[in-house]
């Protein structure tokens, strides 16, 4: 109860952030790619021109943060959607079919869980680098590859939730009624089972989002995230970490993007937790 104002604040923050990152191209801010050798590593001025300072190449940090928000939020949202697109049908089918199907499919899921998926996906992505030219021809850049990787990494928890929900809904009277009236298979799943999973899946979406955004930051740090000149918060934070040294003391380069990242993740966690209750 006492956290209600916090939840509301989190919603407002997320909405503002989404709006700002949507309209970033039309905002009166500097070009996020424009380098300026005369204005390198300027500390934040807060009220005048480089409001949030500049990075090691003299690029405006405010612009970079806003453009980074675009990528981070985009990857988070679509990565989560990809994970759900894989996980929900899988889990729903296992839960709906039950019996041997359920056992086999869930045993497969268990086996996948015992594989270090992050390592496996990194391995996959490094090998796919060999086919960059061909993949680019069919419109498959680093970003799309990344979304596939996210789908591979995060579909399992979603599949488990979907399965549990399908198992629960399958036994409800109206589903039995529909079955006894002769409704089977895909129409039954689509009309009666999937729509009723939605509340649980929405919570799952909110809980997966921060994890996907964090994973993007992780991959960017390892040099497997989005490619320059595109920027993401994770990439900015890792640039900031690289530029940090005790003589210049340019801590803001790391603190600003990681602060933005942390705030967003906290807001998402808050919203997700309140949706779960």
């Amino acid at each position: 109860m006492k956290l209600q104002w916090l939840t509301r604040a989190a919603w407002i923050f997320l909405a503002l952030l989404a709006l700002l990152s949507l309209v970033a191209p039309w905002l009166p801010i500097a070009d996020y790619r424009a380098m300026d050798p005369d204005a390198r590593l300027q500390a934040p001025q807060w009220t005048s021109a480089p409001m949030l300072g500049t990075d090691a190449q003299g690029r405006d940090m405010l612009a970079r943060l806003l453009w980074g928000a675009r990528i981070s939020l985009f990857v988070g949202l679509f990565g989560t959607l990809v994970a759900m697109l894989v996980g929900v049908p899988y889990g729903a089918l296992a839960g709906y079919r039950g019996g041997r199907w359920d056992r086999t499919m869930m045993r497969l899921a268990d086996a996948m869980e015992s594989i270090p998926m992050v390592v496996f996906v990194l391995f996959l992505m490094s090998i796919l680098q060999e086919y960059r030219a061909e993949l680019a021809q069919v419109g498959f850049g680093r970003l799309q590859l990344f979304l596939v990787a996210i789908g591979l990494l995060f579909w399992l928890p979603t599949a488990r939730v979907a399965r549990a929900e399908a198992l629960r809904i399958r036994q409800l009277p109206y589903v039995m009624a529909a079955r006894s009236a002769g409704m089977r298979g895909w129409p039954l799943l689509r009309r009666h089972i999937l729509p009723n999973m939605m509340p649980a899946l929405q919570v799952m979406l909110l809980l997966t989002l921060p994890r996907v955004i964090l994973m993007e930051a992780f991959l960017s740090f390892l040099g497997l995230g989005v490619e320059p000149p595109a920027v993401s918060w994770g990439g900015l934070a890792s640039d900031g970490l690289a530029a940090m040294n005790p003589l210049v003391g340019s801590a803001w380069l790391m603190l600003l993007p990681s602060g933005a990242l942390a705030l967003t993740l906290l807001a998402l966690q808050r919203v997700g937790a309140s949706a779960k209750d």
Partner: protein, 306 residues
């Protein structure tokens, strides 16, 4: 019990074989290879190299040879570090990663459990609030940022510990801390949730009504049920440690498995990457297995259920 244990070991071996097979196929089917450098090799040199590494044999033969090597713990020569076997590199790197991961896991338990208990207590509302907030905060920060802040504080500002390197115990202190903190936060939240539940249970209520001292109550009635989710978490925790160590080893320049893996993935040293992937799979699988066994020991109902 023994039968289930044997079954689990067999399924672990199968998943190792599967991972190896998929990784092997992926490596062999890539067009680009370690011999594609800026300067084109003459056909004779390329043929000689491929013969030396056995790359010109038919695929099934190569696979069988790779499986034979896997059984002996031999992954063939590294493609980048010339004249070095992958198994030698792994043998050098594995102890470092084990020391890093094991230490971090112990530290995470050592921090996380008391903090979780504190966060669940009603007697210290302020401490509980701070503990819960800190845990939630820590989970929202990428671990390389934690590493950056910790290095800035302890190495640059205070000058207590070295920012990177390897060799002495003090080189491991900061990596342990950075790797353990997010995990400790997760453990604390788990312990808090379960302890809050346990404190409301009928067993604990009647124990309080009997007038037991808080210390006895905690030890006999609260701790044991509150720790089962922590045990169940050990498997995922190992996975998180593996992932985290990829970053932490980079930041602190530790020559462990994670560093080798990332370098191998970026430098197309596929035999090395494959070896690390297989070792990681074996590590994760055995840790999950041990965690399950421990859990069955602590909570007999788990055994009865499965």
């Amino acid at each position: 019990m023994t039968k289930r244990f044997a079954k689990r070991i067999i399924s672990l071996l199968i998943s190792i074989l599967l991972v190896h097979a998929v990784a092997f196929l992926m490596v062999r089917s890539t067009r680009g290879g370690p011999f594609d450098e800026e300067r084109a090799l003459s056909p004779q040199v390329r043929l000689a190299l491929e013969q030396r590494y056995g790359l010109d044999d038919p695929l099934p033969l190569q696979y069988l040879r790779a499986v034979g090597g896997l059984l002996r713990g031999d992954f063939g020569p590294s493609l980048r570090y010339r004249d070095t076997q992958v198994s030698e590199l792994l043998a050098d790197a594995l102890p470092i990663s084990l020391a890093l991961g094991g230490g971090a896991l112990l530290l995470a338990l050592w921090i996380g459990i008391p903090v979780g208990l504190l966060a669940a207590s009603k007697r210290h509302p302020l401490g509980a609030g701070v503990a819960a907030t800190c845990s939630t905060l820590l989970l929202a920060i990428p671990n390389f940022v934690i590493a950056g802040v910790v290095v800035a504080l302890f190495s640059f500002e205070l000058g207590w510990l070295p920012p990177a390197g390897f060799g002495q115990l003090r080189h491991l202190l900061l990596p342990w801390l950075c790797l353990a903190l997010p995990l400790a936060a997760q453990i604390a939240l788990l312990v808090r949730a379960r302890t809050t539940e346990t404190l409301q249970s009928a067993a604990v209520r009647s124990a309080i009504a009997q007038g037991l001292a808080p210390a006895v109550l905690l030890k006999r009635y609260v701790l044991r049920p509150s720790l089962t989710p922590v045990l169940a978490f050990l498997g995922p925790a190992t996975a998180a440690l593996l992932t985290g160590s990829l970053v932490i080893e980079q930041v602190f320049a530790l020559p462990g498995l994670g560093t080798f893996f990332v370098q191998a993935a970026l430098a197309r040293d596929y035999t090395l990457a494959l070896g690390v992937t297989v070792v990681y799979t074996a590590l994760l699988g055995s840790c999950t297995l041990i965690a399950d066994l421990l859990m069955a020991k602590l909570d007999p109902r788990v055994e009865a259920l499965s």
